[in-house]
């Protein structure tokens, strides 16, 4: 497989489209709707294909989008019966629609180029098999489709930005201001379905879930506003697409799978390293707080014994670890920290409080 710019661009367009719409899904706690839709659109594609017998027909897109919306409506219908919780309703509807799709494919469309592997797994390497000429350029059809989807998603978010923001963060206010939450919901669902179909030749429908959820989830850990999150998620998504493409060439493996892997990797990095909310940051924060707390305790300890006969023993540098029940290493760290913070000084191996340290200790003893 050689470097192929249109394939790379297709991957990036798909990634951008998915991460825009995925941001909204993650914020609206609808992530798994993308999983449900990505499976059930298969039925729409198959039905539209059986009706038109043409894989390039735009009806495939429309059929798939309709089944995507139908999926969400069926889930809603099951919920209104109050017999099932949301997770079960989702878990019931999409496997059924998907199963019907698989059965139809195996029974009716077995002899044409439409098989479940192609829909589920996708293969970006094959996009050249289906070309269209635009402005005198021969381009893969998936490139054009995914590019159009990207534009549609951008347009949706751009035009409804304010409405989306209000409906995500304060659904009650949105409803009272007169935005129809239902209309917005179904517009979002239709776009998810359309994006799912547009992406399925490129990365396959299951891996599209990776592009829809992982970059926005990573972005959620890096950002404090919707605009920031959209930006980060587009950046993470497109970086994962590019990295996945090169990884696939290196491993000589499936591009979609590698892109999903890179999405996972990108999320992992955010999870570990995000400046405020990452695991590393949280660990550093708690370590710092532990030392700070210990230094305050030490200050109280010294204040209790300062100027008394036992001072020579209790406040001796060598005895601190034993008296405070600390490990020697930790005691050294705490003493070092307290000295750097000008809380105490050392005089003939005896620790004494500075003015500042005494202030801290007295405040603590006074207020508990």
């Amino acid at each position: 497989m050689n470097l192929d710019l249109p394939i790379l661009l297709t991957a990036v367009a798909v990634a951008l489209g998915c991460s825009i719409i995925g941001t909204l899904l993650v914020l609206r706690r609808m992530s798994l709707i993308s999983d449900a839709i990505s499976h059930s659109v298969l039925l729409g594609i198959v039905l539209a294909f059986l009706a038109t017998r043409d894989l390039a027909s735009p009806w495939l897109l429309i059929g798939a989008a309709m089944v995507g919306v139908l999926t969400v409506m069926l889930i809603q219908l099951l919920l209104t019966t109050r017999r099932l919780k949301e997770d079960s309703a989702i878990g019931l509807v999409f496997p059924l629609l998907f199963s019907i799709g698989v059965i139809l494919i195996t029974r009716m469309a077995g002899d044409v180029h439409l098989d479940t592997d192609a829909v589920l797994l996708g293969e970006l390497g094959f996009v050249w098999m289906d070309q269209t000429s635009v402005l005198g350029l021969d381009l893969p059809r998936s490139f054009i489709v995914s590019f159009c989807m990207l534009l549609a998603n951008l347009l949706f978010v751009g035009l409804c930005y304010k409405e989306l923001k209000i409906s995500i963060f304060d659904a009650g206010l949105a409803a009272s201001l007169g935005f129809s939450p239902l209309l917005l919901h179904y517009m979002l669902v239709s776009l998810v379905s359309l994006t799912a179909v547009a992406s399925f030749d490129a990365v396959g429908s299951i891996l599209m879930v990776a592009l829809m959820i992982a970059p926005p989830a990573g972005a959620r850990l890096l950002s404090n506003s919707l605009a920031q999150m959209l930006g980060w998620s587009m950046l993470l998504g497109s970086l994962s697409a590019v990295a996945g493409y090169y990884l696939a060439i290196m491993l000589d493996s499936t591009i979609g799978g590698c892109i999903a892997m890179c999405c996972g990797l990108a999320f992992l990095l955010c999870w570990l390293l995000a400046p405020e909310r990452g695991l590393l940051a949280a660990w550093l924060r708690s370590a710092r707080q532990r030392v700070l707390f210990a230094a305050q305790m030490l200050a109280v300890h010294i204040a209790n014994h300062e100027g008394r006969p036992e001072e020579g023993v209790e406040c001796h540098v060598a005895n601190i670890a034993e008296h405070m029940h600390w490990q020697q290493q930790f005691a050294d760290d705490v003493i070092g920290y307290a000295r750097r913070q000008q809380m105490l000084r050392e005089q003939d191996s005896i620790l004494r409080l500075t003015e500042e340290g005494r202030g801290i200790a007295e405040k603590l003893m006074l207020h508990g």
């Binding site: 999983d35 496997p95 999903a260």
Partner: protein, 374 residues
């Protein structure tokens, strides 16, 4: 019915059906716990997350032994659930996003590995791709033995720790306060659910196995409020879907097993939601209809009482339209029903309605009920 006879006499088909029945039972029974703990979609994530484990197990051992592959799937499915709970505990992300990430990323890793495995000269495709959609017809006696052993082990653990699992499913805080090792039990129960899912991968496939955890349990839930009954019914519905799906896919050409099993399980669930004796939608509708009728009848009776209250003759006939005057719009159906009961009759000449003796008694009883004993 001819094909049914051949179906049950064929050794291979019997083996396959037995296998599918067992894994259906295990998944259905364990699925009830997933349902109660609102973890239905965890099954979806687990079954996708199991894929890399299958590929790695094959790469490491080079064996196609179902036990080895299932163990690989178990380990990676289990790691998947750990990652889901780690993400939800340590970040601001919700469970849905965590499930979505694990599901798709693990599946992607699995696919990359499958492609690599399939390129190995020794692999000969290794039948690993059946793990995507499942293919029960390739099930061998040894596969069924594995399903048997693991499934029974799963169910045995479930019944050994029945009380504990029941407690942590309904009231985890209370379970913890009584000194039960809640985290350990929670992990064990999740492990059992993972196990129930991975033993079915080969027959039903990664993509659809989650449905077998959700659908039978959801159906069983409609029938009872007792955990034991629900678990047994869940197992039964699962087994039923397994047998029906495997049988149908074996007897009709070009019919993939997994999807057919899922369709059967879904049909059972829809029927259960519609028809289950107490919680079903249809019985509920009928109950509502009956109670609406009862209320309507009482209103007509009381309206008639008001008409005859000041009249020395309670059996005087009235035009049915008079009821409109006292606030009952169309009581035609109710009056017909009351005629059947023999409470009112119509006069022959003008078709006016008149209370019968039984009707008059009924009126008095209704009024007494309404006003209460004096």
């Amino acid at each position: 019915m001819d094909w049914l006879a051949t179906l049950f006499s064929d050794y291979t088909v019997r083996i396959v059906m037995l296998g599918c029945a067992l894994l259906g039972f295990t998944a259905g029974a364990l699925g009830v716990f997933a349902l109660l703990r609102r973890q239905s979609l965890l099954g979806d994530a687990i079954s996708h997350a199991a894929l890399p484990g299958v590929a790695i197990a094959f790469l490491l051992t080079g064996s196609r032994d179902p036990l080895v592959l299932v163990l690989g799937a178990l380990v990676s499915g289990w790691i998947g659930t750990l990652v889901v709970s780690a993400i939800t505990r340590s970040t601001r992300l919700r469970e849905d996003s965590a499930l979505g990430i694990v599901l798709s990323v693990f599946f992607g890793i699995g696919l990359v590995m499958l492609v690599i495995v399939n390129k190995l000269p020794t692999a000969g495709k290794a039948g690993l791709s059946t793990f995507l959609f499942g293919n029960a017809s390739t099930m061998l006696a040894s596969d069924v033995r594995t399903i048997c052993i693991l499934g029974l082990a799963c169910l045995l653990c479930l019944f050994l720790f029945w009380k504990e699992f029941k407690l942590i499913s309904f009231d985890p805080q209370f379970a913890a306060s009584t000194g039960l090792p809640e985290r350990l039990l929670d992990t064990s129960l999740t492990t059992l659910i993972v196990l129930a899912i991975v033993i079915g991968l080969q027959a039903v496939g990664v993509v659809l196995m989650s449905a077998l955890v959700v659908a039978p349990a959801a159906a069983a839930r409609q029938f009872s409020d007792r955990l034991f009954v629900v678990v047994m019914l869940g197992g039964l519905f699962g087994a039923l879907s397994g047998v029906a799906g495997a049988g149908m896919s074996a007897s009709i050409e070009k019919l993939p097993t997994g999807p057919v099993i899922v369709v059967f399980a879904s049909i059972i669930t829809v029927l259960a939601i519609l028809l289950a004796p107490h919680r079903g939608l249809l019985p509920e509708y009928l109950r509502q209809l009956a109670s609406r009728r009862r209320i309507e009848t009482q209103r007509v009776l009381q309206a008639l009482y008001r008409l005859v209250e000041t009249d020395p003759d309670p059996y005087r006939a009235h035009d049915a339209n008079v009821l409109q005057v006292v606030g009952l719009r169309s009581a035609r159906h109710t009056i017909a029903a009351m005629q059947d009961l023999g409470w009112v009759e119509r006069t022959e000449d003008r078709g006016w309605i008149r209370l019968t003796q039984a009707g008059w008694l009924e009126v008095q009883r209704s009024v007494q009920q309404r006003e209460g004993p004096h």
